[in-house]
Amino acid sequence: MRPTTATREDLLRVLSEAARREGHGDVPATVDAESRRRTLASMRSLPSAPRSFAARSRAPWLAAAALAAVLAAVLGVFVLRRPSRGVLGAGEAPLAFTVDGAAAHAGVYVHGDESEKRPLLHFSEGSEIVFAPRSSGRVAEVDARGARVLLESGTASFTITHLPGTRWSVEAGPFVIAVIGTAFDASWSVEAQTLEVRVREGEVSVSGPLAPDGAHVTAGRRLSANLLEGELRIGFISAVAQATTSPAPAAAAAPSSIPSAPQSYAGLPSAPQSYARPPHATAHLPTPRLDWARRVAEGDYRGVLADADARGVDGVRRLAPLADLAALADAARYAGRPALARDALLSVRARFAGAPEARAAAFLLGRLADDGGGPTQGAVSWYDMYLAESPSGPFAAEALGRKLTALRRAKDPAARSAADEYLRRYPDGPYAAAARELATP
C-alpha cells in the first residue's frame, strides 16, 4: 500500500526530522552537571587513572567517600539494569556445582544411562537439575548469576533458586528458555523436533522459531512446540501429566483462588499468594491464542475490545492467557474504558500472581484509581503493593512519586515520609522538586 499524499522520501524526511527533534541531546543543566560529576568521580577511581586526577582533589578523603557512594550507585544501577551475564558478573566468583556429589566445571557433559539413576546437578546457590534416564545435556557456561545449560536430548527437571540478579537459560535445539527463578521440566526430542516445557512454579519465557518474541509459560501450564508441524501450543498441565512428572508441591497444594465472578473483585483486593487451577476444571479448557498483544502494539485497541466484547468479557477474564489478558487491560486503558481495564488487571493479579505482569498490574491499578478520582487510599494502597512486590521494579520511582503526590493532594501527613523516601531513592527523579517541598527539613 503506497501512500497517496506523501512520497516515501517525504515520509523518510518528516520521520527523520521528528526523530532528530524528539531525540535531542538537551537536558536540564542540573542533570548534566550531576552526570558529569558522577562520571568524573568514577574516572578518578579507575585503577589506570593518572595520579594527577586523584592528586588534584582538594579533599581526598571526601572524594573517596563520595566516590564510593557513586560507584555503589552506578553498580547498583547496572545490577538492576543488566540482565545480560558476564558484564557485572565478570568480577564475581561463578557458582560452584557438583554432578552426583563430584565437583564439576563448565563444559561438563551429563548423560543419564539406561538405569533409573538420575544424574543430579547441585549448584552452590541452591539450584538443582535432574536429568532423566537416557537424557543428556551440558552445562555450557556458569557465572555468578546462573548458568547456560544445553539440553541435548531427553528430559531434565530444573529447580532454579530465585535470587536478585539471577539469570539462567536452558537451550534445547533452536529454543531458549529464559529462567529467573522457577521449577519446570523440559523435554527435547531431536528426532521429532519437539519441545515440551511444563512449569511447576514461577514462570519461564520460551523463545525460538515459533515464538520469536518469547512465549510466557506460567505455573500449571505447559508449552508444546513441534517444529516439523510448525505448531506451538500453551495449555494447562493435565492432572495425569502432573501426576507423572516431578512433584510440584507448591503448585499442587495451592488452593484455587481464581475468582469466578466479576463482583468478587469489588473493593481493594490483595493478590493471592499463589494460584493453581483445580486440575479437573482446567484439563480441557481451551486457551486460544488471541494475539491481542500484537494488535495492541499495532494500535488496534478498539479491535481488541470489540473482540473481547464479542467473546464475552467475563469468559475472557477467566480463561484468556496472560499475554492476551494483559493486552486487553492495555487496550481498555488506551481506549478510555477504565472499568474494563481495572477488571482485566485484577484478573491478571488473581490468576497469575507472581508473574511480572501481575506485579506491574498493581502499579497500573494505582494509576487507574489515581486518575479516576477515587479515594486516595485506594491508589496509595496499590502503589504500596507494587513497591512491596517490586521495590526495584521498572515503575518503582513512578509509583513512589505518584504516591507522594496523591498523599499531598489529600493533605495526608504521610506525604512527608513518602517524600523523604523518594528523595533518598531518587534524588534526581521527576518528582524530586515536589518531594523537596514536602520533605522533612
Binding site: M1, R2, P3, T5, A6, R8, L11, L12, V14, L15, S16, E17, A18, A19, R20, R21, G23, H24, G25, V27, S35, R36, T39, L40, M43, R44, L46, S48, A49, P50, S52, F53, R56, V74, V77, F78, R81, R82, P83, S84, S205, D213, G214, A293, R294, V296, A297, G299, A326, A327, A329, D330, Y334, G336, P356, E357, A360, D371, P394, F395
Partner: protein, 219 residues
C-alpha cells in the same frame, strides 16, 4: 601550550582542538576531561536517545560512554578523531542496551516492552510523539546493526563513511545495510495507516509554518 604536563594544564581548553584535548586527557588533565564532557555529552546523549528511543532516560548510558572512553583513552590512535571514537563507544553501549531491552520485553505487558499511557488531550506534539512511538516500534523489529545504520544515517545525518566507522564495518557493508533497512522500514511505515496519518499531519504542518505562528500569537 606545548611541552611539560604543567603547561598542558594551562591550555585554553575551550579553544583546544580534539587532538590537544585527547592528549591532555591522556596526560591526566581533569579540566580537559571536563571540557570533553562539555563538548561531547550533548551529541553522545542525542545519538543514544535516537538509537534507543527518544523518550528514554539515557543518563546512565552517557556516563557509561565517557567512562569507557576514559578507560580506553590509550587506544585512541588518532587523537583528532575523538568525536568518532565517542560515537563508536556510544554505539556499543546502545547495542548492549537494545539487547537488554529485548530480554526485558519478555517481562512486560506488550511485545514492545512499553506500557502505553492513555492518550491525553491531543496537541501539536502528539503527532510527533505517537509517530515516534510507532517508528521506534518498527525499529525494534530490526536487528541492532540495521537499526543503528538507519538512525545514524537518516536521523543523526552522518555520512556513510562515518556510519561505517561508527559501526566498525566496511563502507560497502554500511551502504548495503542502509539500502536494505531503509526499504524495510519504509515498507512497514506504509503498512501502518496510523503512522502515516501522524506523518501526514506533520508534513501538513511543516508546509504551513507561517500560519501557525500568528494564530498562536492571536490566541
Amino acid at each position: 601550550v606545548k611541552g611539560s604536563l604543567g603547561s598542558v594544564h594551562r591550555l585554553p581548553l575551550d579553544g583546544a582542538d580534539d587532538a590537544m584535548l585527547s592528549r591532555a586527557v591522556a596526560a591526566g588533565d581533569e579540566a580537559a576531561a571536563t571540557e570533553v564532557w562539555r563538548r561531547y555529552a550533548p551529541p553522545v546523549r542525542s545519538v543514544l536517545r535516537r538509537s534507543i528511543g527518544p523518550y528514554d532516560d539515557v543518563e546512565d548510558h552517557v556516563q557509561e560512554v565517557f567512562l569507557r572512553y576514559f578507560r580506553q583513552r590509550a587506544e585512541l590512535r588518532d587523537p583528532g578523531a575523538l568525536r568518532s571514537f565517542l560515537i563508536g563507544i556510544a554505539m556499543h553501549v546502545a547495542i548492549s542496551e537494545l539487547r537488554r531491552r529485548r530480554v526485558r520485553r519478555w517481562l512486560h505487558l506488550t511485545p514492545t516492552g512499553v506500557l502505553p499511557d492513555p492518550p491525553a488531550e491531543r496537541g501539536p506534539d502528539d503527532d510527533a510523539r505517537e509517530a515516534m512511538r510507532r517508528l521506534y516500534a518498527i525499529l525494534d523489529r530490526m536487528d541492532d546493526a540495521s537499526r543503528l545504520t538507519f538512525v545514524l544515517r537518516h536521523v543523526e545525518g552522518l555520512e556513510l563513511c562515518e556510519v561505517a566507522a561508527a559501526l566498525g564495518v566496511s563502507l560497502a557493508t554500511a551502504k548495503r545495510r542502509l539500502a536494505k533497512v531503509t526499504t524495510r522500514v519504509l515498507t512497514m511505515v506504509e503498512r501502518d495507516p496510523a503512522l502515516q496519518a501522524h506523518a501526514g499531519a506533520m508534513l501538513a504542518r511543516s508546509a504551513e509554518p507561517a500560519r501557525d505562528g500568528p494564530r498562536e500569537e492571536g490566541a
